[in-house]
């Protein structure tokens, strides 16, 4: 046998199926796609000084808007917290119900599913598709394929197009995009995402899951024998045989009638009866298929079913399986849930108590202090006044704990030096002020405080302790 240098991909023509899991998959697909395509169009009124898009990643101004929440770069820990929650959430879901992410929510799964429906819509179901695949290229096939691929392309374009809307004002960008006025990076992004969606969703499909994606390996490692996974109960199905044979000799054969329906519907084209395997994305379509067959031949459902490996062992020995809620509520999942919830609560707390003003102070260290001609001592500081509201605000900075201390700045002249100075900070911005603090002749080095107070009804306050340096032993 000559050795094959490569293996040609075997096209998967999965069959249409209906059932509770398929309907759930429809539901998830609908919801996720709707969220993805609709979100950028939702408006959110933040006043005249901030964008009115509900969800917006404003890279140019380094802001992230999410409905009523606005994240500044220095608050990136919120995003980090969400990522950690997503990670732990994945542990939680995986340890409870196996690779549910892969089966239902993963974008690759959702778009592949969508494209498979297109296949079915244009070319017909499994057999028709396989036939067309084998048929020689002729005008009819070319027309069919051209039609199908243009639908792929349209969906891909919409996918890539929706992505960029998260990064700029959606209606404006949408219009600019078609009048060729959008920035180059927008076209490049849409181009790349269109291309990847077209090839990954249209042509590579299960190969992404099997060869390219690291997730299945990681997820398999997070499963244990108490996680729910899709399993073929071989002690019940084997030995398999056709319905005819089984009828003749019911004693000898198991429940599986070898009708291959479970293989036919599988979107990754595998045979679950060979045991749990990396190609299985746990979409449960084979459960729908087999349940239907079991109903037709009058056997109980669940020859292929969501079950834990532990249950399988028990059932094989003739013991009843554990109820599902017990499987879900076990120490491991509860601990994950606890950690997940605690982080979520902490984030919510931080979100609720954060203020929309912030002051940072960095003292000049070069030189640390300065002797003035009248003998007084001056220190200089760089103040950053942060206004996180979408309206301009007046803020007041006061010096506390420095007797006789006065301040002035690069814009407020030395002749107007005073212990308290007021500043206008533009909407949603940081105002950097170089502040000079002078203290009388006999001042000594000491700690003192800058107190920032907003002058609006909120009167938010932030204080920063810093140091005033003076020559040792006075001037």
């Amino acid at each position: 046998m000559p050795e094959k240098l490569y293996e040609k991909r075997k096209a998967v023509h999965n069959k249409r199926i209906d059932g509770p899991f398929r309907r759930f998959k429809w539901f998830v697909m609908f919801v996720t796609l709707a969220i993805y395509y609709v979100t950028p169009w939702i408006r959110w009124d933040r006043g005249p000084f901030a964008p009115d898009q509900a969800v917006l990643v404003d890279l140019a101004h380094r802001r992230f808007y999410m409905f009523g929440i606005e994240i500044w770069p220095h608050e990136f820990y919120f995003v980090a917290g969400l990522l950690i929650m997503a990670g732990i959430g994945l542990f939680l879901v995986t340890s409870a119900v196996g690779r549910a992410w892969c089966g239902y929510a993963c974008p690759q799964t959702v778009w592949t599913d969508l494209f498979q429906h297109i296949d079915r819509f244009v070319d017909g179901d499994r057999n028709a598709r396989a036939r067309l695949d084998k048929a020689p290229w002729g005008p009819k096939k070319i027309a069919r394929r051209g039609f199908k691929w243009s639908i792929y392309l349209l969906i891909s374009l919409a996918t890539g197009g929706a992505w960029i809307l998260y990064f700029a004002d959606a209606p404006t960008l949408f219009q600019d995009f078609f009048t060729l006025q959008a920035p180059m990076v927008a076209y490049a992004t849409v181009g790349i995402l269109t291309l990847t969606t077209f090839t990954l969703g249209g042509f590579m499909r299960e190969q992404v899951c099997i060869y390219m994606c690291p997730w299945p390996r990681i997820q398999s490692a997070m499963l244990d024998e108490k996680s729910l996974i899709v399993t073929y109960k071989d002690w019940r199905g084997e030995p398999r045989g056709s319905l005819k044979k089984a009828k003749k000799d019911p004693e000898h054969f198991g429940d599986c009638i070898d009708c291959n329906q479970c293989v036919a519907v599988c979107p990754t084209g595998i045979d679950i009866r060979e045991g749990p395997q990396i190609g299985c994305i746990t979409c449960a379509l084979c459960i729908d298929a087999c349940d239907r067959v079991m109903k037709d031949i009058g056997r109980p459902r669940g020859l292929i079913d969501y079950a834990t490996l532990e249950d399988c062992r028990e059932e094989a020995l003739g013991h009843p399986a554990k109820p599902v809620w017990k499987t879900l509520l076990r120490p491991r999942t509860l601990v994950y849930f606890g950690v997940w919830g605690a982080i979520g609560a902490a984030l919510l707390f931080a979100l609720g108590t954060r203020t929309h003003t912030d002051l940072t102070v960095s003292p000049d260290r070069n030189p640390p202090y300065m002797l003035m001609s009248d003998g007084s001592i001056r220190n200089s500081y760089t103040l950053k006044l942060r206004n996180m509201e979408s309206r301009p605000r007046e803020m007041v900075v006061a010096i506390e704990g420095l007797p006789g201390g006065k301040m002035w700045t690069d814009t407020i002249g030395a002749d107007e030096a005073a212990p308290v100075q007021s500043f206008n900070v533009p909407a949603d911005q940081i105002r950097t002020v170089r502040a000079y603090v002078v203290a009388p002749k006999d001042a000594t080095s000491r700690e003192f405080t800058f107190r920032l107070t907003s002058q609006d009804e909120q009167r938010e306050t932030d204080t920063v302790e810093t140091r005033f340096d003076a020559p040792a032993g006075g001037s």
Partner: protein, 303 residues
Amino acid sequence: MANKRIDEPTGTETVGHEWDGIEELNTPLPRWWLWTFYLTIIFAIVYVILYPAWPMVDKATEGVLGWSSRGQLAEKMSAAEQAQQGFRDQLANIPIERLPDDSALMARAVAGGQAAFKVHCTQCHGSGGAGDQKLGYPNLNDDAWLWGGDLKAIQYTITHGVRWPDDDETRFSQMPPFEGALDDAQLGAVIDHVLSLSGKAKPNAAGTQIFGDNCAACHGPQGKGGRDVGAPNLSDAIWLRGSERDALRRQILGPRMGVMPAWGERLDPVTIKMLAAYVHSLGGGEDFVEVAKDPEVKVDEQP
């Protein structure tokens, strides 16, 4: 290869490696994977032809595109210079008295001046502009100015330097040495008088007399100094060369006088303007007397 054989359940040949009873199947790679691999090889070859890649004795092969990171840097630098041109033109055209009115331009000038200061001025005045009392480099952060502290005076000082022999318009002043002219008692008396000007000692009649005869011409009867001749104010808290009696004695007997190069010879007027703006911004800069009195006044550009 040793134990090549066909694996029973899968019908696939093994590669002949075995670890603890685990054997590896010889499974062919998917076609797209191989093609991707070939493409990377082609990409590498094309890359080596187009770009500098292959190390030779003294440098790498050049590549037919002629690209180099140095060339790219030069391109970026000239683009940056071009981008700055508008700002530099603006700065060249604005009289320095009007610079504070344009706060955005002023801010850019200060930033540019800070960069230039780091290159040209820190050697004497220190990176924070604090100078050095021992060596007699003036502190630029305080509010005492020998030659004036408004933008124009600073610009003039930078352009023409101080006691710079090659510049006819340089800032120039000289204090005569009193070595031999005063005896010890007289010297002590006048030092006491000078210190008394800022309340550091008790006044005395002999010192006042000597001061009036020898020093008041430049430093003024009250010791307030004079900017037209660059005479330091002796009545404030700031001492260019120290306030200890020893330091004063040395300065009276054989005065040391600083020299600053005329930067107009080396730097372009725009850079000097930026330097002036930066030095002015350090905290001791003064307003223009004319402008402060009457904001509408026209001030000419020439010093």
